[in-house]
């Protein structure tokens, strides 16, 4: 099932809700992110303050996790499925993300960062 997750709130005190992917607004930017052992591509995701984006996550091999604890995002990315995460960056800065499903020797390196620029 495709899911869309909304990130709301002034300081990423996220309020999450789910809704069908059909609700993705056509004008919103979509950033494709792939997960595979032991990396995310891209590993650095640059966003602009206040500009909504949709992260479209898929996996190339096995189940992975995608957690941005500072943004209250904690999702899984499963084979054959697409996970959508909507983010409205409300604060500039760098926010670390990593895989939360242990996937082997190198799992600890499977990480990246979201950089929100003013």
């Amino acid at each position: 099932m495709r899911r869309l997750h909304w990130i709301l709130g002034p300081a990423f005190a996220a309020v999450l809700a789910t809704m069908p992917v059909a609700s993705v607004k056509a004008q919103e930017k979509v950033i494709q992110v792939t997960a595979e052992r032991f990396k995310f591509t891209p590993s650095v995701i640059e966003l602009k303050l206040g500009e909504p984006v949709i992260l479209e996550l898929t996996t190339l091999d096995r189940k992975h996790g995608f957690q941005v604890s500072d943004l209250n995002i904690d999702e899984t990315v499963e084979p054959g499925k697409v996970t959508h995460i909507r983010i409205v960056p409300a604060k500039a800065g760098t926010f670390l993300f990593h895989c939360t499903v242990f996937c082997g020797s190198g799992h600890e390196d499977m990480a990246g960062e979201i950089v929100v620029k003013p």
Partner: protein, 311 residues
Amino acid sequence: MNELKGRRDFIKLLGFGGVVFASGLAGCANGLRKSGRQEDDFFFVQLSDTHWGFKGPPNPEAANTLRQAVQAVNALPRQPDFIVFTGDLTHTTDDEAERHKRMREFKLIVADLKTPVQRYMPGEHDASLDQGKAFQEHFGATHYSFDHKGVHFAVIDNVSDPQAAIGDAQIDWLLSDLKPLPPDAPIVVFTHRPLFDLAPQWDWATKDGSKAIDLLQHWKNVTVFYGHIHQEHHFKTGAIAHHAAQSLIFPLPAPLSQPKRAPVPWDPAHPRRGLGFREISVDESRVVFTLKEDSLEGTPAVQPAAAIGTY
């Protein structure tokens, strides 16, 4: 106490209630123990994150580090009542046969410990790829409890689920295990990952750890010993003290002290810096713990093993 003088040892009294901290070199163990109380006190040793099978620049001596730890523990002036390994006994591998081989080799090496009573629990490297199947085959249950000289010990598995959850079934077991105990019962919890959110950005947390903490808060004297973060660390959630141990493979940086949780680079001048184990003394009240951090630095090197034996 005199045994500590002249070395780089130190003792700290911190705001941890009945806990005394000490650090030092392996071999000067039991320095804090007062003579005449030994029949009432007991102590155990915590070893963690041995990662048997690891190969890489963070520890070029990895094939010997576990043996050095075994030698160092065996050299203690008095042997502990038991030894606990708080997870990541082996380094993970996708190869199932290799996983079993590493576990067999680990068991052979620690069989040289003088202390016969050893307690094990898995880390994610041991258990997350097969949900603990190989671990259980070699070491038994991944969560259990036992009593020792008036202290109740509970082992919590927060790694067999690859998403680092304890799970409701195990929480229910923990509740049923602890329920008969009075509110002031001395309780020690062993686990691999921190139960609290130490640094979720680095995966240093347990997904549903708050459920365990909420449950444990009902008892007044709870102490948690864990591993995973490859360094000594002390923290309190309410009345519960949480103590992380050094590893026996390579140290990791302080939580969120740098962008990535990469291992601290190996220093050939100090090849065993940041590696060590912990002695935990329990006094006659059973609620005051003395923690002594023993470093492998300065311990004698062991000869590289030609082979581990046959199976």
